[in-house]
């Protein structure tokens, strides 16, 4: 590995830590002025670093690269590693963090300094989740992400925020106890928690001395990560947490945190560890389809912009897990791409909900209306994002959903594939209702003087919409590339 590449890899963990130090070492007055810029720089550099490492690995003909944060410890030590999927995820994290900081400028007032500190710790926690190759280290970084999220949700110290944060923390703690218990069972059989070692130990798990113990391990780990993902029926905490968080925190939470803390881990488990455990995939598929359908149905009945987005996230996370549970390359690629797409369009929608909240002071859709003419950028980017969410061609969401449904069809689960397809109608229904109530029709009394929110909020909406459209248009080229590589 070249020295340049090694240096860039270190930025994933080193740069956010440096930003925390800078933020706290500078004089308070200066830090208050530039703290958000530090976060934006960290996000943009992370995106650039992910692209650079991807290009370097591709040029060197490698698929992954290992590195140590402090010192090289030789074989067997827990270390960090990047592959193409973790690089995609690191790019997503950088993108959402940048959008969150751009939104924070108009929404956080004097909380920007603390927000920056916590968001950088959150960034480190999420990067750690993406980079580790060991289940116990994954647990440690999950805890960091959970604690940082809890404090960020309650940043304003208002009653709803505290309650939402507390629910999040309690459910998160329950999930980590389940995960830790499951890991203990798995460790008893494998003697290691490195992804590769556990996968090897589970290759013939049916013939283990006590397969019941391993099944208990699978179930505990699956339930733990399902709670973290917010899939139904473990979703109770998610809408409250999203709704009660400050706008900029909702952007980060809804855009990436839930996906990193639960969905990414489940994808890693299905792709790297439980490859030979079909029962794991079958249970995951069941949870996925329940989430897809019930999440979409529940979204239809909501009256708050952010709660609609929260239930929509539950449904869309179901699609990602459905792709992963198919156990095929097509399904896994579909899941990974939907992970990226969901990060993009859901962040756009949360940024737009922040814009609406800033401009009107509310996110209750019954009190809103006719904002399309007043807020054209927010209105149009919302339409693009929801069309992508509903899987309308040629936007990015269409392609990833197509791959997932094809993968489900190929496994012989025609009924589940059909249900997933049918649920897109519900997606269109709740977003059409949202769009009609908030943006279309005559302006509601009292909102006649509403103006578009400019600056960072508008910029992130535009940039994310461009990614949604651009990625959708370029997707056929990506499919041809994947076909050329023999992946689909």
């Amino acid at each position: 590995m070249s020295a340049g590449m090694e240096f860039v890899l270190l930025t994933f963990m080193g740069l956010p830590l440096l930003m925390v130090l800078l933020n706290n070492l500078l004089k308070k007055e200066i830090a208050q002025k530039i703290c958000l810029s530090l976060g934006i720089i960290a996000g943009i550099v992370q995106m650039a670093a992910a692209v650079f490492v991807f290009a370097s690995l591709k040029a060197a003909g490698q698929t992954e690269a290992d590195f140590s944060q402090f010192w090289d410890l030789g074989v067997g030590a827990s270390r960090f590693s990047v592959d193409f999927f973790s690089l995609l995820v690191l790019f997503c994290i950088g993108m959402v963090i940048t959008a969150g900081f751009l939104t924070a400028g108009k929404t956080l007032g004097d909380k920007k300094f603390n927000f920056t500190n916590l968001a950088m710790i959150l960034l480190l926690g999420m990067n750690g989740i993406a980079l580790v190759t060991d289940l116990f280290s994954l647990y440690v970084f999950l805890e960091i992400t959970g604690v940082a999220s809890f404090v960020m949700i309650s940043l304003n110290k208002e009653g709803d925020g505290i309650e939402g944060a507390f629910k999040y923390l309690v459910m998160s703690a329950i999930a980590t106890v389940f995960i830790l218990g499951g890991l203990a069972f798995l460790f008893m059989q494998s003697g290691s928690l490195q992804y590769g070692d556990v996968a090897a130990a589970l290759s013939d798990w049916q013939y283990a001395e006590q397969p019941a113990l391993l099944i208990a391990g699978f179930v505990l780990v699956l339930v733990g990560f399902s709670i973290k993902s917010g899939v139904m029926p473990f979703h109770g905490w998610l809408p409250d947490a999203y709704q009660s968080a400050p706008a900029a925190v909702s952007v980060i939470l809804g855009g990436i945190v839930t996906k990193m803390a639960g969905v990414y881990a489940l994808l890693r488990l299905t792709a790297d560890i439980f490859v030979n455990v079909p029962v794991f995939n079958q249970i995951l598929m069941l949870l996925a389809i329940v989430s897809i359908v019930l999440g979409a149905v529940a979204a239809i009945t909501q009256t708050d912009f952010k709660r609609i987005l929260a239930y929509s996230s539950i449904s869309q996370i179901g699609y990602i897990l459905l792709g992963a549970s198919c156990g095929s390359a097509v399904g896994l690629i579909g899941a990974m791409l939907h992970f990226f797409n969901h990060a993009t369009f859901k962040t756009t929608l949360f940024v737009n909900s922040a814009a609406v909240e800033i401009a009107t002071g509310t996110t209750e859709i019954e009190k809103l209306g006719g904002l399309q003419e007043k807020m054209p950028v927010t209105g149009v980017s919302s339409i693009l994002a929801f069309l992508s969410t509903a899987g309308i061609p040629p936007l990015a969401g269409f392609w990833s959903k197509l791959l997932i449904i094809i993968a489900a069809w190929q496994t012989g689960n025609v009924f589940i594939a059909g249900l997933a397809l049918f649920a897109s109608i519900f997606t269109a229904a709740y977003f059409l209702r949202l769009q009609r109530c908030v943006f279309f029709g005559p302006a509601v009394e009292g909102l006649e003087d509403t103006k578009e929110v400019t600056g960072g909020v508008c910029l992130s909406s535009l940039a994310l919409s461009a990614i949604t459209v651009g990625f959708g248009l370029l997707f056929p080229a990506l499919l041809l590339f994947l076909q050329g590589q023999g992946l689909i």
């Binding site: 827990s78 970084f141 309650s154 009653g159 703690a173 106890v177 830790l180 203990a184 003697g191 006590q210």
Partner: protein, 166 residues
């Protein structure tokens, strides 16, 4: 006997997990959470994972302490009307009995069938000192522990330093 204690702790752990999720009072919920972590620490200890048990106790005790203080300091007294609280109690009144019955049934089945936990694999009980494990094989976790401390410090600053708002 070891199997019996472990299974009992598992039942207790699940029971406290459910009560932590369902209780309306933050304080009681936090107590349930702490009890759940303690049960897990006992399980880990009984299974021979002494370091893991210690880590679970230390991390969760730290975490739960923050939760305790947060709950006590930041919440106003519960002003929910008595009728609402009574309704809540009625709805979940049967839950503890169901859990106890379920737990007793599981323990009875396990004792009757003579179930015993298997011994851990050879690699799982390999001799290694704490220093070897901590410094030589768990490097990523050292960074994780540092970050956890930082997160805790910022939590205290955000939640307490600027005074109570509600």
């Amino acid at each position: 006997m070891t199997t019996f204690i472990i299974v009992l702790c598992l039942v207790v752990m699940v029971g406290f997990a459910i009560s932590a999720a369902m209780l309306r009072s933050m304080l009681k919920s936090a107590v349930s959470l702490a009890a759940m972590s303690a049960a897990l620490a006992v399980i880990l200890y009984m299974m021979g994972a002494i370091w893991a048990a210690l880590f679970e106790l230390s991390v969760c005790v730290g975490l739960i302490t923050v939760v305790f203080i947060s709950a006590i300091s930041l919440t106003t007294p519960d002003r929910r009307d008595e009728a609402h609280a009574a309704d809540h109690r009625r709805r979940f009144a049967a839950l503890p009995f169901i859990l106890i019955a379920l737990g007793a049934a599981i323990i009875a089945v396990l004792v009757y069938t003579g179930f015993s936990l298997p011994l851990p694999g050879e690699e799982a009980v390999a001799e290694a000192t704490f220093n070897q494990v901590f410094w030589q094989t768990r490097q990523a976790d050292i960074l994780g522990q540092i970050l956890m401390l930082l997160a805790g410090a910022f939590a205290v600053v955000v939640l307490f330093k600027e005074g109570k708002k509600i």
